[in-house]
């Protein structure tokens, strides 16, 4: 049992449906050369394409699990890659699934999300809005000319996330195919965000008054949160 079992199932269902429709391309992180790591400022005039800008839909999802549903090193892409679309902007979903043994969920979250935020690639600029689980990326024209594709981004996430000691495998999914496709994952993204927020609240406030808590419904639905609550309340009582 894990915090995000339901969301993982949803993502996997999305993937298998897309596979059946023949709309998934797969890459292996381990056979992908590393793209130069560097924080970049990409201005509009140097931008080839934007992913998930505020005028369209975007979604960022980070899930971790102790289970086996994660295929290490797999990068799946549903929709056109950044160099294939004639568009200046595409809707965008980024799903990062990490497997490992995560004892302390709070520390795990911080370590994993820091790894995500610290993944910076030359010619690729990303802005994230965690509270809205949205993100906004720009790919520089120069990077595209040098052959940048989402495969490199996926491989960078795999590498960076696996540097987190408790992580043993990372799978990545990118969706650029349509607004509808991205939105099909938005329920999972919103729910995952609430689970994370409920968990953070427990750790930070150490208040366990469920009657007045705005996350009560989340905790009621997720066994793992109840366990965390019991663990923390126990520590507090000692």
């Amino acid at each position: 049992m894990g915090l995000f079992d339901e969301q993982l199932t949803e993502v996997k269902r999305f993937l298998s449906e897309a596979r059946r429709a023949g709309g998934v391309r797969e890459f292996r992180a381990f056979s992908t050369p590393a793209w130069p790591a560097e924080s970049s400022l990409v201005l509009e005039e140097d931008t080839a394409i934007e992913l998930g800008n505020p005028q369209t839909v975007s979604l960022s999802l980070l899930l971790w699990t102790g289970g086996h549903a994660v295929e290490d090193g797999l990068i799946s892409l549903v929709g056109p890659d950044v160099g294939e679309s004639g568009e200046l902007s595409l809707p965008f979903a980024q799903v990062l699934m990490v497997r490992g043994s995560f004892e302390d969920e709070y520390e795990s979250y911080q370590a994993l999300r820091d790894a995500v935020y610290d993944t910076r690639l030359s010619g690729f600029m990303v802005r994230t809005r965690p509270s809205k689980h949205s993100l906004w990326c720009r790919v520089a024209r120069e990077a595209l000319e040098q052959g940048f594709s989402l495969r490199y981004l996926g491989a960078a996430f795999v590498k960076r996330l696996k540097e987190v000691p408790s992580a043993s495998g990372v799978e990545v999914l990118f969706v650029t195919s349509s607004l509808d496709d991205v939105e099909r994952l938005s329920g999972a993204a919103a729910e995952a965000r609430r689970i994370i927020e409920a968990m953070m609240k427990m750790y930070e406030e150490k208040s366990f008054d469920c009657e007045t808590c705005e996350y009560r419904d989340v905790c009621d639905g997720v066994m793992e949160l109840k366990k965390i609550r019991e663990k923390l309340a126990g520590e507090k009582a000692v």
Partner: protein, 250 residues
């Protein structure tokens, strides 16, 4: 020179916005330089001079962030990342330039954490650009409150009036106390008679880095509400460019 943050300061009405707008015009011509231009004067004016309409100000960003904090989001890293996103939305880009307007702060309140995050985020943002030019609020307040954080050069603008020069001197003294080892220089504006420049040089401890003649073209562009991006190489523009070349901005 690279990675320079320059603040244009001085008494009210002496030509700070004019000088900043001409800086934007010059920087725009240096295609390979990524420049951030900040309107730090809540009274605004720079957008008008450059015909820019930002759809979001720094104050809007601050309000949105306060909302997040009020909703219970307190994780520093998540807030800092959100702030970067919101700041990016507040930038108005014109070619190699990006503009940020600070807007008019309404709800002061005590959101120290938000203010600290904001200061860090702006410093971080400025750091990513090659150069940053700030059109500061008139007087010494902003310098006093260190609103602009790390400034490398304070460009003091003054007309030929004694009062204008004295305000420039006060700003320099305050700036010296606040920030270590920064440069500062005086640019004298609206000069009708060059002899006035010599008199000022003899009476101030400030380094005079140049002077700008009174120029009908500037006045006309202002009156007709034309974009300073379209200014010709009139005498004022040429002398402002020379001053910026001297301090290493362009």
């Amino acid at each position: 020179m690279r990675d320079m943050i320059l603040a244009v300061c001085g008494k009210g009405g002496v030509g700070k916005t004019t000088v900043t707008a001409v800086a934007a015009r010059e920087l725009c011509r240096l295609k390979s330089t990524k420049a951030l231009v900040v309107d730090a004067d809540p009274g605004g004016g720079l957008e008008m001079a450059l015909s820019i309409k930002p759809n979001k100000t720094l104050n809007d960003v601050r309000k949105e962030l306060i909302e997040e904090v009020k909703e219970g989001k307190r994780d520093e890293r998540d807030l800092a990342v959100s702030l970067d996103y919101l700041l990016a939305e507040a930038l108005t880009e014109v070619g190699n330039l990006a503009f940020l307007s600070i807007g008019r702060p309404e709800d002061e309140g005590c959101y120290c954490k938000v203010n600290v995050l904001l200061k860090d985020a702006i410093a971080g943002l400025a750091g990513r650009f090659d150069v940053t030019v700030i059109d500061a609020e008139a007087g010494i307040e902003q310098v006093n409150r260190r609103v602009m954080g790390e400034v490398d050069y304070v460009l003091l603008v003054s007309d030929t009036s004694t009062k204008g020069i004295r305000v420039g001197e006060t700003i320099k003294q305050v700036a010296d106390r606040m920030v270590k080892g920064e440069g500062a220089g005086l640019l004298i504006n609206r000069v009708l008679d060059e002899r006035a420049v010599d008199l000022i040089k003899a009476s101030t401890f400030l380094e005079v880095i140049g002077w700008i003649p009174e120029d009908d073209t500037i006045r006309r562009f202002d009156e007709e509400d034309k974009s300073f991006f379209d200014l010709p190489d009139c005498p004022a523009v040429v002398s402002i460019r020379n001053a910026f070349e001297k301090v290493g901005l362009v």
